[in-house]
């Protein structure tokens, strides 16, 4: 079964709840190697997403993704704004006007999101950024042939593993890069939030 606009909205609502629950954890991670604002920025952004979803009803998956993009761009305030904003915007463009997304469309949306993040932030795998979570997630999504839930679950697992892989890395992009060697030994907050979002999308798809 594919996912409809209301499935996407449900996934986004769950993601917003997860981000709110993990606000303090993301703040702590960002305190260690960044400017300590990632948790609060993400909370602010996804809280704004929730309030927009309360007042608007996106009529297609693509429109729901675009709503997230424009909201995050204008409310987040840190690097996550343009990065996640671009990711959701590209995902929205990739799925177009389709009323329902099958597993191929979801994989394509994830690919487009990754391409957007790379274009915006110029990071590559190994730089200790969200790209380290998103890249294996896309590879996993492409390799799974099954339901949308199965695709997203594989992507979420790979993202979690990819996020963990950032711990020993020395940051080469973002605020953490100013720390040089001292950035090693810490989980990257952006990679962590990417893994959290994909897990929330997978959980929502499993329930749908």
């Amino acid at each position: 079964m594919g996912c409809t606009a209301s499935d996407v909205v449900a996934a986004l609502r769950l993601a917003a709840t997860v981000v709110q629950e993990h606000r303090d954890e993301l703040v702590r991670l960002d305190q260690a190697i960044g400017d300590a604002d990632h948790g609060e920025n993400m909370r602010r952004g996804f809280t704004a997403v929730l309030s927009r979803l309360d007042s608007e009803e996106p009529t297609s998956p693509g429109k729901a993704l675009k709503l997230v993009a424009t909201t995050l761009i204008s409310t987040v305030g840190g690097a996550a704004g343009p990065l996640y904003g671009t990711a959701f915007l590209r995902a929205s463009a990739a799925v177009g006007d389709a009323a329902e997304l099958d597993c191929e469309a979801v994989a394509k949306a994830l690919q487009a999101a990754l391409a957007g993040v790379v274009a915006r932030g110029k990071a590559v795998v190994g730089d200790k950024t969200m790209v380290d979570a998103l890249t294996p997630a896309v590879a996993a999504a492409e390799s799974v042939d099954g339901s949308v839930a199965a695709v997203l679950s594989a992507a979420a697992d790979a993202a979690a593993e990819g996020a963990e892989s950032t711990v020993p890395m020395v940051a080469r992009k973002g605020r953490a890069s100013y720390l040089g060697e001292r950035s090693a030994g810490h989980l990257d907050p952006g990679a962590r939030s990417t893994a959290l979002l994909l897990r929330a999308f997978a959980d929502a798809a499993a329930k749908a």
């Binding site: 604002d37 920025n41 305030g77 840190g78 690097a79 704004g81 343009p82 904003g85």
Partner: protein
């Protein structure tokens, strides 16, 4: 830091995580370029550190008097926010986000804009600026050997010599002329188009510089610099 209106000059937008920093840079750059719109955008809507996309979009439009806008930024997400704002504009080609040191770049860009430089040239002035003493035009042919060159020894009658404000005045006074102007002090040479290169000469008050100009307005350029020095750079 005037709002744009019709200054007929390229505008500048300074995007920083910090409102204070953006305003400080705009103040510094604006001092050198009274007729250039230098608009600071810093911090989030709530007054915390960060960048606010909507404010950047507004500043881009406000800074554009018709000649285009050059955008400088401080750190990573300010750059990304600026780039997104430019991409979303009706005509992204009117805006150039430059990779330049924010303070030096803004000063160099403001002076170039004050002199009536194009959007591309203002952007280049910012990009060429750096925290190091700028290498002063080493590759050009020795201008004093060019036949139609006009040159003069100019005594720096002010106390501070070719410091920031006098250097900016000198650059401005010849920017609009059709002349290639080089200033020499000791063994070093700087293009009069670059405030930072002029400052890099470290020519102190009481000493003389050599001004060499070529081009249609070469004589006028040298005359203006002589006058400026005689007035003690209006110090």
């Amino acid at each position: 830091m005037t709002a744009a209106s019709s200054t007929g000059r390229v505008g500048l937008v300074i995007v920083s995580h910090s409102d204070m920093l953006a305003n400080g840079v705009a103040e510094l750059a604006g001092q050198m370029a009274p007729d250039v719109a230098v608009l600071p955008v810093g911090g989030t809507e709530e007054g915390t550190l960060g960048t606010d996309y909507g404010s950047v979009v507004e500043a881009l439009a406000d800074a554009d008097s018709g000649e285009g806008v050059v955008v400088l930024y401080d750190l990573g997400s300010a750059k990304m926010t600026a780039e997104m704002a430019v991409e979303s504009a009706d005509d992204p080609s009117r805006y150039t986000v430059v990779d330049a040191p924010m303070v030096e770049g803004a000063v160099a860009a403001a002076v170039a804009a004050q002199g009536g430089a194009s959007q591309a040239d203002v952007a280049e002035a910012a990009e060429r600026a750096s925290g190091d003493t700028p290498a002063a035009t080493p590759s050009r042919p020795a201008l004093h050997l060019v036949q139609d060159a006009v040159s003069a020894e100019v005594l720096l009658t002010n106390d501070v010599g070719l410091h920031a404000r006098p250097a900016a005045l000198l650059a401005r006074t010849v920017a609009e002329l059709d002349a290639d102007v080089v200033v020499r002090y000791g063994d070093e040479e700087a293009s009069a188009a670059s405030v930072l290169a002029l400052m890099g000469l470290s020519a102190p008050g009481g000493k003389s510089i050599t001004v060499v100009a070529t081009g249609k307005d070469a004589g006028e350029a040298v005359r203006r610099i002589e006058e400026l020095a005689e007035r003690g750079f209006d110090d």
